[in-house]
């Protein structure tokens, strides 16, 4: 089944706060948890990174790119992370 994405997962979404943001494409305020649209572009996040390994519970994992395998979490944004690499699927 195809994964469903929200605005929070979109590169075109500029967060204003924890609940809403501005879509850079449509120039309007959208809800963070709203369903993504046709302009969706995936935002680099740990959960989309091939170095991410799930860990204890839904919201904790590890970063396999680092020798120390530090804790990380799926929704950590990775646009500035040198280790980020897209998962192949």
């Amino acid at each position: 089944m195809e994964q469903e994405f929200t605005h929070l997962d979109c590169r075109n979404y500029a967060p204003v706060d924890v609940a809403k943001g501005i879509c850079h494409v449509k120039k309007e305020i959208v809800l963070a948890d709203g369903e993504s649209c046709e302009s969706f572009e995936k935002l680099p996040k740990c959960k989309f990174c091939k170095n991410y390994a799930p860990g204890e519970g839904e919201y904790i994992g590890t970063c396999e790119a680092s020798k120390t395998r530090p804790m990380t979490y799926p929704d950590l944004i990775g646009v500035t992370c040198d280790f980020f690499a897209w998962q192949e699927n």
């Binding site: 967060p15 850079h24 950590l76 646009v79």
Partner: protein, 903 residues
Amino acid sequence: MSKRLSQVLQESGISLGFQAGGSAPEEVADREVKREPCPRANKLRDLYYQALSSATNEFPYWYTRQYMELDNEVPAVRRALSLKCAFSHLTPVILPGELIAMGKAHYYRGSFPMPWLSEGYYMAKEDELYKAALAKGSASADEVSKFGSGGGNVTGNFGNVISIAGKFGIRREEMPALLKVARAWVGKSVDDLGHKYEQMVPGYEIKEAIMKSVVCMFDSGYTLPQGREVINYYYLLQYGFDGLIEMAKQKKDQVAGRPDGDGIVGMNRLYNYEAAIHILEGIQIWILNYAKEARRLEAMEKDPIQKREYQDIAQCLEWISRHSPRTFREATQLCWTIHIAVLNEDAISGLSPGRLGQVLWPWFEQDIEAGRTSEEEVIELLECLRVKFTCIDCFASMGVVGGVLSGNTFNNLSLGGLTQDGTSACNRLEELIIEAATNCVTTQPTLSVLFDDRLPEPFLLKAVECVKTGTGYPAFVNNRVAIEFLMNQYGEEGMKLDEARAIAIGGCLETSPCSWMPLSLEGKEYLIPGGSGQPTSVGVHFISLPKILELVLFDGVDQRTGQRVFPAHGQTLETYEELFGQVKAYFARAVEVLALTNNIQHDIWRKNSVPIFNSLLKPDCLENGHLINELGYRYNATYNVETCGTANLINSLAALKRIVYHNKEQTLDELKEALKVNFGFKEAAEVGSFSLADQEKKEGVDEYDRLHFLCLTAPKYGNDDPFVDRILKEWEDWFCGMCHDYESLNAKPYYACQISVSTHAPMGAATIATPDGRLSGTTFADASMSAYPGTDRNGPYALFTSATCWDHCKSQNSQMNMKIHPSAIRGITGSRKLLELTRSYMRRGGFHIQYNIVDSRVLREAQRNPDQYRDLVVRVAGFTQYWVEIGKPIQDEVIARTEYEGV
């Protein structure tokens, strides 16, 4: 139905109308001056109105990840590398329409916790970490503090948002990682380590009892260890990032392996310069990440105007990431970037830009002269800057952010004052700053005029016009008094008159040492002012004076909790002198133990969490190679003792002196009994109002009415009554002097600081009825020189006479708030009246005055219908805040303040 106090008094022929100098007009009056910002700033401000205070785990995550990997690195370098890692991983977000880019975090009102300082307070109340914070007293103030329920405050969970610390929202999916990061700091944070060592202070148990009883509001060492100071933008404005990095590299070569006669910390200089290079590089990367984001947006943008604006942002950021600015816009952007970089380095409130109009003057002057910009463009940029400053949020506990700060962050911009050679320092850019603040009413930065008779009348009238918008800013600060205080406090560190003239206000009202820095731009030389002192308001924060009196009356036992705070004094208190002596004794004991424990907390902070970026900005750290922890700053005598509830203490002492000791109308025991049962009234929390007039009587309890009447009608401060003013003078002379007896961790004397901020609400909530007739749980009088609401009956000049019965130069500050009905100062005649009123207070030696120009009925209406008043601002005590973001106890207090109908 229960009777309110106002009704009870009315039946006795006493008015509690809170109006003076006439009556308010029948029709509700709006403010006379109302302006609009430019469309761009208006849009950005509207977005602010919609934005929630939002927290993120990004910075703490990357900081902690790096820090834990650097075991055994030299502390300053370890910290610098961790900060570098955090800065360089922040997600850049730029919103359409912004001219000035960058923010603390990727949310508009973004902030984040710093668990390396303290990790327990933002846990759920069921969590064992929060319980531990309560047990040691560090979370007690949280329990009596309240946030406003509106505006951007996230006071409850909704959807996928979790409310933390009662104000900030965080995404549900980030919360488990945030908690995991926090737990990594258990036993390692400044709070935890400081607590381990502070317990070694003899008499520590008194400190813990003091905190649990909210005799003292908070420890500054792990909550807000910096701030209440003036930033210094100079070095980066003059040399740029590349220049400073190069300078640090050269210095490293000069000091490597050389103690140069200092066997204790001389060798540290190498590590400090190394740390400086790391942090500067980290901030460069952070800026460039924003530049890259601007380029990305530029590439995808279809609208040519917006496309061009993204391009301009990118070019500006790319340049300032390496070089000193060439234009007014670049200089403004760089100052903003430096400002938030310092705020991200540590938990800070009250980081003041200082005399920004004088700092930016060289670029303004040259750009205007060359036609590179216009005054309209400058105003637009300044209005956008106001919105950016207003977006700053400070993440701290409920007790600190709610109880002390009312959600404010105190970025105070100073105007006017004198030049190094003693002439007026105000300039055209400062007038435009006032213009922008009049047009674009926001809470930050607040403004303070450094008042001197040498400032030109048109400039002062422009400031008055801004006050008439109802913003509460600018406040007026006595430049002469401030300079005298600086000379006294910092004389031993070399402060001379010409340097004292660089003074600016740090935080809401903290007189801060500054210096003149020689700046060269396009071959022209300037002197620009900037901060050169450590945080000027850290140490003993705040001591509740009415609570000290309560403890004296009840032999050291807190009547709210039933817990013993001080050892029993065993005095019979048969004379007034004995009573006053015991007040001083308990107060001194509190200061002693709090100074010692705070010294330890701040010492742990400076050892393990030393600010590197802020240090290298301040003279003379770059030159001498020492950071704040090695007293690299030019001025280090900056610790203070803050108090709250001065008017209630003085009024209570006056009532006791008159009723019990002079007239012997009631015995002390009878009065104590009445205080314990709150004069037969319900508790304020039960009534749901924290204003005296609204308090309700318990039915059928009348035996304390006469005594309560005597207390309420006893002489009160603020009426030019020598009986009361002598008490105030004795208190002030003693208090300002005794602070010097305590030694800060920098081996310098403490000094007195007298501002309430918002502490008069939670501290009032934790204090039973007082002998001045104030009832249990109600808010104290605001500030330190304001009268208790409704008790200043003889007009403003009588209040000024009372307030200036002591020498304000002995204290870092004093604070006077006055509420004036808009109709009292209408037109140019009204403006001149307000200016004359201000001048009168300054000439008498008053340190500070600020005005709320508002009809109290508007505030009552706003309390009933907050949704219709999102943009209403009021002056609280040293700061302006959105009405809807203020807790009810402070709202009630602002409504209750005496409203002057004529000046």
